[in-house]
């Protein structure tokens, strides 16, 4: 078996991993390795051919491929080593990675620090609980996107989309442009899962109907999908009898959510936050396992790639400091907790003495509210206040606290989103 030693290994060459690798190198660590299982870098961005990426970072609406390319070019300029077509099969607690490819076989890599950047995975049919036969033609939205945009297949002629998350909406437009008849987007919940602008530019622009509080309850067809039965649901998401409708289609596209990909993290028994379904992380996105960091959608599913890149850079700086012995791992810690109308906060805890100038908080609200104030409250002091016109669960909030304001010894900071009139 090949054996080697690397200062910082990044698992995953998508937007989080690329940003992390560049940052580690910028911090003066030269012995950096990106391990990527695909044959090219960029991750899921390579199949996101639509524009709208990078408005925060580059001030332009780039396509996913262009956004990825900006980072890939820099990774190559900085001569960062890439192991492509290589898959990590195991990570041990002493930070040893076993990676495998068809040329070298298995390689054992002793790492100074590891950055987990594996991204996320789509929920599948079995997680959406759809009754009926098991014909071909039932695919996740990401698979359809890859077939159409990279591999050059059209997987059907008449499509029904289940789920109104952003990927479902983007694929509604994409399939229409490819000549596939999109019969409608069906959403179990009372409100759409995706960004409002995607409802406008992907559905309204192409006259594709959106059916809320409606879901697919059954698939039909033996070898090939022939149709689906949809039905309306009540407030408890129970099917309303008599509302069933048969729709002929040969493609059912599932856009029913994303889950952080943590198969490798679970091998390490690191703490997972049940709300984000990703690792519990600190101020530098270090997990509960010392020297193992996480970045991007592994931690929580972000809506914007710009934030994924930012967390990659943060983890990159953290990993570089860690291998240089500059991170003070001692306590005390300050926990960040979701308060009123907040479903989670990332990071989950911080150490004041390690904080950079600003502490970015990533969180989502539980329900839509108008005219609200976001507050971050410590023991007896409010560290942050900001008003918003409207907040929605699909749109992640990012607020930056000035770190010097945080009092040493504060055990907890609670993040709240409250209607202004209620105060």
């Amino acid at each position: 078996m090949n054996k080697r030693q690397v200062d910082v290994v990044i698992i995953g060459g998508g937007p989080a991993g690329l940003a992390a690798a560049i940052e580690v190198k910028k911090q003066g660590i030269d012995n950096v390795l990106i391990i990527e299982r695909d044959s090219s870098l960029g991750g899921i961005l390579q199949q996101c051919i639509h524009d709208g990426f990078g408005l925060h970072r580059f001030g332009k609406r780039l396509s996913g491929c262009e956004y990825a390319d900006n980072f890939i070019v820099e990774v190559k300029e900085r001569k960062i080593e890439i192991a492509d077509k290589t898959i990590v099969i195991e990570i041990t607690k002493d930070k040893v990675i076993y990676a495998m490819n068809e040329i070298d076989g298995i390689t054992e890599i002793k790492c100074g620090a590891i950055i987990l950047a594996m991204g996320c995975r789509e929920r599948t049919r079995s997680q959406a609980f759809i009754w009926g036969t098991r014909p071909s033609g039932v695919l996740t939205a990401g698979t359809v996107q890859r077939y159409i945009n990279i591999e050059g297949y059209l997987p059907g002629e008449k499509a029904v989309i289940l789920g109104s998350g952003d990927i479902g909406l983007i694929m509604a437009r994409r399939m229409t442009l490819e000549g596939i008849e999109v019969k409608g987007v069906y959403e179990l919940m009372e409100s759409p899962g995706g960004l409002t602008r995607n409802i406008a530019q992907c559905l309204v622009d192409y006259n594709i109907p959106l059916h809320l509080s409606t879901t697919v309850i059954r698939t039909h067809g033996n070898k090939k999908l022939e149709g689906v039965t949809v039905a309306k649901v009540d407030k408890d998401r129970q099917v309303i009898k008599g509302s069933e409708e048969y729709i002929e289609c040969d493609l059912l596209v599932l856009a029913v959510g994303l889950i952080p990909e943590n198969e490798l993290s679970n091998q390490l028994n690191i703490n997972i936050d049940t709300r984000t379904k990703g690792p519990v992380v600190d101020e530098y996105f270090m997990t509960s396992m010392e020297g193992v960091f996480a970045a991007g959608n592994v931690v929580t599913v972000f809506d914007l790639v710009d934030y994924v890149s930012l967390t990659g850079e943060l983890a990159g700086r953290g990993a570089a400091k860690y291998v240089k012995g500059q991170l003070k791992m001692d306590k005390p810690i300050t926990r960040l907790e979701p308060g009123e109308n907040v479903s989670f906060v990332v990071p989950q805890y911080v150490r004041k003495h390690n904080l950079e100038e600003k502490l970015p908080l990533y969180f989502r609200v539980k329900q839509k509210l108008e005219k609200v104030e976001v507050t971050a409250v410590g023991n007896d002091e409010t560290y942050y206040k900001k008003k918003h016109r409207v907040v929605l669960p699909p749109e992640m909030l990012v607020e930056e606290i000035i770190s010097s304001n945080i009092k040493e010894g504060d055990k907890k900071i609670t993040v709240n989103v409250m209607e202004v009139s209620k105060e």
Binding site: I49, D51, E178, R197
Partner: protein, 116 residues
């Protein structure tokens, strides 16, 4: 008065657009880009076009492309169909012009990925 959802950025502002004394007025936007979008949406809605064209001698089958500027929304499907007739060969560099002045719109179609 017409209402539009601004698609320039994820904030997704709801714009109210009205015409007074031959001048288009936009309300509800939070930035300059939103005002421009509102005026365009009122007069002549425009969109970027992103799709793929066939590529040969590459490890992948499709080359992603984008328009260099927005094109009239009403012509999206027609121009996408034009693009599906095209086949390009490797190597292609990001930014290479794939179609110049597509459909006399004054807008070029360029590659968004380097495929060597």
């Amino acid at each position: 008065m017409k209402k539009f959802t601004c698609i320039v950025c994820p904030v997704s502002c709801i714009l109210s657009v009205d015409e007074k004394d031959n001048e288009v007025q936009v309300n509800g936007n939070q930035c300059k880009r939103g005002r421009v979008f509102g005026v365009n949406e009122y007069n002549d809605p425009k969109r970027m076009i992103t799709t793929t064209v066939k590529i040969e001698n590459a490890k992948i089958k499709r080359l992603p492309v984008i328009s260099t500027d927005e094109i009239p929304k009403s012509r999206l499907i027609e121009l996408a169909k034009e693009l599906y007739k095209i086949t390009v060969d490797t190597p292609v560099l990001r930014g290479d012009i794939i179609v110049k002045n597509i459909g006399e719109t004054g807008v070029d179609i360029i590659a968004t990925r380097t495929i060597i």
